[in-house]
Structure formats: C-alpha cells, structure tokens
Symmetry: C2
Subunit: 463 residues, 2 copies
Amino acid sequence: MENRKENFSEWYNEIIVSSELSDKRYPVKGMNVWLPYGWKIMQLIDGIIRREVDKNNFQEVSFPVLITRDQLNVEFEHIRGFENEIYWVTKGGKEKLDVDLALRPTSESAMYPMFSLWIRSHADLPLKAYQIVSVYRYETKHTRSFIRIREIHFFEAHTAHASYEDAEAQMEEYRRIWKNISEALGLAYMQDIRPEWDKFPGAVYTLAFDTVMPSNRSLQIGTIHEYGTNFAKSYGIKYLKDDGTYEYVNQTTFGMSERLLAAVIGIHGDDTGLILPPAIAPYQVVIVPIPGDGVDAYSRKIGDILKNSGIRVKIDDRENYTPGYKFNDWEMRGVPVRIETGVKEVSGNTATIAMRNIRGKKTVPLDRIVESVNDAMEKVMEKITENARKDFEKRVFMANSENDLSAPEGLAMAYWCGSRECSDLIEKKYERSALGFRNDRNDSGKCIICGKDGKIAVFGRSY
Amino acid sequence: MENRKENFSEWYNEIIVSSELSDKRYPVKGMNVWLPYGWKIMQLIDGIIRREVDKNNFQEVSFPVLITRDQLNVEFEHIRGFENEIYWVTKGGKEKLDVDLALRPTSESAMYPMFSLWIRSHADLPLKAYQIVSVYRYETKHTRSFIRIREIHFFEAHTAHASYEDAEAQMEEYRRIWKNISEALGLAYMQDIRPEWDKFPGAVYTLAFDTVMPSNRSLQIGTIHEYGTNFAKSYGIKYLKDDGTYEYVNQTTFGMSERLLAAVIGIHGDDTGLILPPAIAPYQVVIVPIPGDGVDAYSRKIGDILKNSGIRVKIDDRENYTPGYKFNDWEMRGVPVRIETGVKEVSGNTATIAMRNIRGKKTVPLDRIVESVNDAMEKVMEKITENARKDFEKRVFMANSENDLSAPEGLAMAYWCGSRECSDLIEKKYERSALGFRNDRNDSGKCIICGKDGKIAVFGRSY
C-alpha cells in the first residue's frame, strides 16, 4: 500500500481497487462500476441523507433522465453553464429524434416545468422535493473515482417558497441538515460563499461546504443555492396570493454526491486502508474465529447476539485463510470493530475486541458484548472525528502577508476585498483560486493584495 | 370514479392521477414523473425484492447507464432483439462522440465484459449480482403508466455458474424468490414457458410469470431466463477448472419492473380506488380525529404507540376538511386500516377501526391497539389475496374445443402441439397469441388445432 500522505493520489486509487469499492475498467471512460462493498457504503450514506431530509418534511420524487432541448433552453444562464457538458440523445432505434434530448446534468429544467403545473396557491407552498439519481456530465478534464466522473450519483433537493425570506429560512434549514450529515460522517468543513463568477448558473448565490483532502486540495462536498425568483420567472412558477394577484415563487436547491464517499476515503483512511464511520460501515463488526474446539459455534452465538441488537456483523469463516490474513484484510476495508474468538474466549465466556483506529485489545465478558461493541464503535467514531478536525485545522492556515500565500501546502485564509482583479492576481502568482468568503467567520481586515476593506476568504487548489 | 370492471383503462388512468402516483404531463412522451406517494410504494416493493434476493446471497451493484455500440454488438441475437428500441447518445457538449453510446435497454452487454474480468476460477462462482436501475426503450407502441413506458424502473439479477445444472438450480431458486414476492403483494400468477419466437433475445429459454388484469389481458410481471453458455461464449466468460482447462460459465437472469405496481393497482383496486397490501402501503394506518375535547392529544398518543411498534401511521389533522372527506380520500389512496378517534373513544379509552376491503367497524380497547391493528392488517391482506386468486381463476379458463377460443373474455388454456402454425392460426382466427406452455401444470392432451400430441398452454391478449 502506498503512503497516504506522500503519494495521496496513488494511495487513493489503490485503496479503491483493493477494498473493492468500484471498478474503473468499464469500457466507457469516466464511468465506473459500483462494486457491492462501495455501493453498500453509498446506500448507507444515502440513508443518512434521507433520514435527515425526511425529518424536515421533504418528499422523495423521481423525474425522468431525459430533458428536451426546449426545456433546457428556458433559463439562459443555466444552459450556458452546462451546454459544453451535456450528453445528447439524438436517435431512437434507427430514427433521428424530432427533438434532441439531454441526459440530465442537474434537474432544474426537468422539474420546474412540472412545478409550474403543481403550484397554484399559497396552500401548495412550501414545496420541498428531492431525488437521488444519476446525473451526467461530459467531462473533458481528467476523471477520478468518486471525485470527477461522468455518471454522478447525485442527491438534489428543490424547494419553492412564498417569499425570499422563506427561501432564506430554507437555506438555514439546509445548513442544519448538512451539519447532521457531516457529523454522521465525521467530516470537518468550512462554509464558503462562492465568488460571483463561480456560483451555480442561474443562482443568486451559492454557499459551498468545502473540506480539504490530504493532498491539500479542497473538495466541495455539498452546495446550497439561493435562486430567488430567477428560475420561477423563466419557468412561470407562480402562486395566487390572498389579494388575487400572482407572485413568483422563490427557490432553493441543495446538492451532494459520492464526493461524500471520496472525502470519507481520503480524510479518514490511513496507510493500512479505509477507516469507516460505524454509521456507514457495511459491516460494523467482523468476527474472526481463531480455530479451536467450540469456536465456530461460539462465534455464531456472538454473531446472533449482535445481529439481534441491530449491529451489522460479519463472521469471517473462510477456510484457507489465516486469522492474521483476515485481520489485515478487514482493517484494509475499514471495519470499525474486530472481535477475536478462540478457545480462551470460549472457556472464559468472553470476547476480545480490537478497534480499527485505536491501538490495543480488550477482553470483555459475553454478557456485556453489546454494550462493549457499542462503546467501541463510539470510541472509533470520536477518534475519526477528532483526527479529521485536527487534520482540517492543520491544512487551513491564515495568511497574514502576501508572502504567506506562497506556502506550498494547504488552503490559505486571507482578507480579501472581493474583486476579480485581486483574486486573479493571487491565482496567477500563487496558483490559488478563490473558494470565496468564509460564511462561518465574520472577521474583517484589509485585502491582502490591494489593501482595501475586506473580509476573510479562502484560496487554494481544488478538485 | 370510473367503474373498474366496465372501463378498466379509464379507471386505471384516473386512479393514478387521483391518488397521485405519477404525472404524465412531463414534456417527454412516455416518460412520467414519480410522485411521492407512488415512489414510496415502489420503494417498498423494491425493499421486498432486496430482502428476498439478499437472503439468497445476491450482491447489489450499480453499472453505468451508457453502453458502447461495440459492447452491444457482441451478442448478435441480443442486439437484433433490441436495436429498434435503443436511445443513442451521439453528442457530448458540441462534439460528436467517437463512438455512439446506448442508454441501457437491459444490462447484459454492460455487465458481461466485466464478468469476463471478474471470473477467473471456480472460487469466483457462483457470481450472483443484481441492480435496481432505470432502463430505456424507445417504444413506438402506445404507452401506458407503469405498463409500457420509455423509462422503466427495473430490477435485474444476473448470475454465472460452473455448470448448466447449477444454472438450472438457480432457476429453481428464482421461482422460490418469486413466490415470496408475489405472496407479499397478493398477486396470483401462472408460469409460462414463452414460445421460441417470443423468448428473450439470446436466451436458451424464458419462463414468465403472468397475471391477468380486469381488462382480461395478461400482464407479464416477472421473467427468468436460462442463458446456458450463449452469452459466455460471446463475451468470453470462462473459469479455470481443477484439471487446468477453461470452461464457459452458464448464466441466468431475473427481471421485474414497476409492472408489479401496475398489477397491484389493477387487480386489487375497486371502484373506490386503490387497495394496498399493508407491506407496501406508505401509510398502513391513517388516524382521522373526529373533532372534540381531548381528541387531538388522544390521536397523537395512539399514533405514537403505533409508530413505536414499527407501524407506518399518518394522523390526518388537516383543518378545513370533514372527517367524511378524509375517509373517502384515504380509501381512494388504498390505506389498509383507518382509526377513528372522537370523544367517545377518548372517554372510553378505545379506538374505532375500519378495514379498507371489509365492511363494518370495530371498537377496541387502547391497550390492545397494536394487536388489533396488526390483526386488521392481516385480515386486509388475506382478503386481498383471496380476491386476487378468485379473480385470476375466473379469468383463466379451459378451452376444450376450438369454439371455446372464441369466448370474448379471459385467457384460454388449451392443449397445444407447440407449432408456430397452430399458434398463428389461433392468433389470426381468435386474436389470442400464445403465452406459452404452462410450466406449473403437466397435463397433456391433443392439440386443440391439429390434434397432435400436446401439452397445456395459454392463449390470450397481453399488454
């Protein structure tokens, strides 16, 4: 296995292959096959997302993948932002289609013609819908598993509200939802208001949740967008007010993808392999029997006890593999807790527990096995979260003078006036582009370039 | 609401609109929007399918939607069977693609090039994978919600085995899995071996699970296919045997779609609307408060008790709607059990229970509410199953002479020699096509047309 810190890119590609998350050998470049272990982790991540949005009264829908060219053309900024990345269906069977159909790059243009039919009055608002689907981008840049690909596993929430204030309250709700999701995954992040030239095409503003990978490049792992009435005006989404007049709705969206998995792999992993937060581990516990009298039956007994408590457990009873091989194999795959069962455990009515990211083993009595495993999972998660926070803090530093921007590593925070000129200069001279103003900080100071009044912003290389 | 028996097609379209399952007004013809209620039912159906195949050690994967023309061309019969129905992506952004890419019509040609990389030795077999994805068919026939559409919600299992016998054992396992799924949905069915000219393109044989709708037309709601080594030879899927030689694998598949939902709607529904099996009802119980002192708190209390027992429950506390309106509304949406709570129930510490498909109400004590609701759901399900079975038996009749084939209604069973000539004659003269020999019957007799030796088969109009 490659050293994670030194050769992050190689390590990242290698761990995806060896832990069997996805397979890049599919004949269409940039489109990978989700293997069972990777897909299961992604489904568990989706489950966390569903739970959080369902709690906030979102409703899941599923829209068609194909969008007519006419639908897409309705919002000018929007289509301009995506037109170079769209896959076009032009033929059905042997016939040329009357109208070209796009594979959705995102679903505004699929959903909003329907929103204009569904929304009639105040009683239809707020409308809060989401879907978890594939979206498609004809990427011309270098592709990378789970980070930049051509078929993206995508969560997209879309809302419509009676007023801009209600839409802004929705943006607040998104931030609370995001906080819960990032905590469940143990991910540290910052909130960045993207510069005007980098916001979502058609949005009033874009707020991104950015984290930082061991390569010191930032990774956007979630975005929320305030659309105001921009799309509503293009798609004619109006509601009847009490006074008998019509008003355009205000809209927002929230997007996430398998980049959440990329962040989990890259940030939590170590030289040995994956380290999975228990909430998204396909197996939270693996039981490795050390061959001996009564060990198999005893292992199954422990397995049943844990299963009945709702813990996802795997008994590794493969023949022809040594316990040592199995230890390494499951460590590489990131299983949070390992239980070893041998004759000593059988005779003593105990189990020996090891944690993926904390050294040492502990022998616990069988009648406390569920509490002990839950406790171990909690400790694993605490350590994951703590390490991720420390790593994030180490990689995001404050640049107090222009000279600090030339530091080779990490993301640089600096006061910035917000002008394109100063940002372009930083990009040209220091190869750091503006991720935007920090929305979660309110320090102000003089722009690091021009000296005018500024606020704190972040500059760095991003994926 | 239309009369279900008399005007089935109108009734079917109307109930889909009024119970808000899907919306046909999407700008691409034949591609519909799944609305929250319909999507939730479909997800619950998917959950049943996942549970059944997971129990049998299938692993879920997710393959790309795009397939190169080369991949598709590998198996001649297969591509010939689908070429008129394929949507082709020919452009990315403004560029013409080097190679045309198909939206998967089914995933043999996506998966099998990878199977040939994954399968090396006996240890890799059996390989049992499945996915739940959209597949695409450029249908030129009349489209119909959930029955014949252009974006199909699809379950597909794919297996590879060391021998034909192992593949045949897999076909047996599929039948057991199917039996459990059909029972959970309360659907009656027959097993029909499709005629040679109607089997899956590339298969050795196709076994279909057919049911019959109130329109007296058959609906194929599941198919399993024996591929033998047909695809393995085309895609080079081989394994190393103990004797050092290579052997082609034998393969099978199992396919289902949202036609399962179509069958549930059509077969279980009545003139009032949907009747949902409790296992797939988004709300298994709706509580309708009859306004009065203490009723709201009491309703919430009952709701909490049921929720804590894992029952999906909705309290309909909408203002501006009468209890009577709510009763009708939820009956139309097929909720299995209704609970009414008024001042009488509050003071007596009781609840009044009504079942969707059994007349009468019953008042039960609060401390037995969970058992009472579970019992009511069981009764609803028994009635659903019994009615479906009776309906099926009524609509599938035995034709003892050619004259019986001219009966206007239902599906006709008859002895058949298996020849295309006799089948074509029946189709021409009686507008009944051959669904195939009944695999679940072994009666034999003289062909109803030519008088040669035959076995029992089914003839009818199908969707």
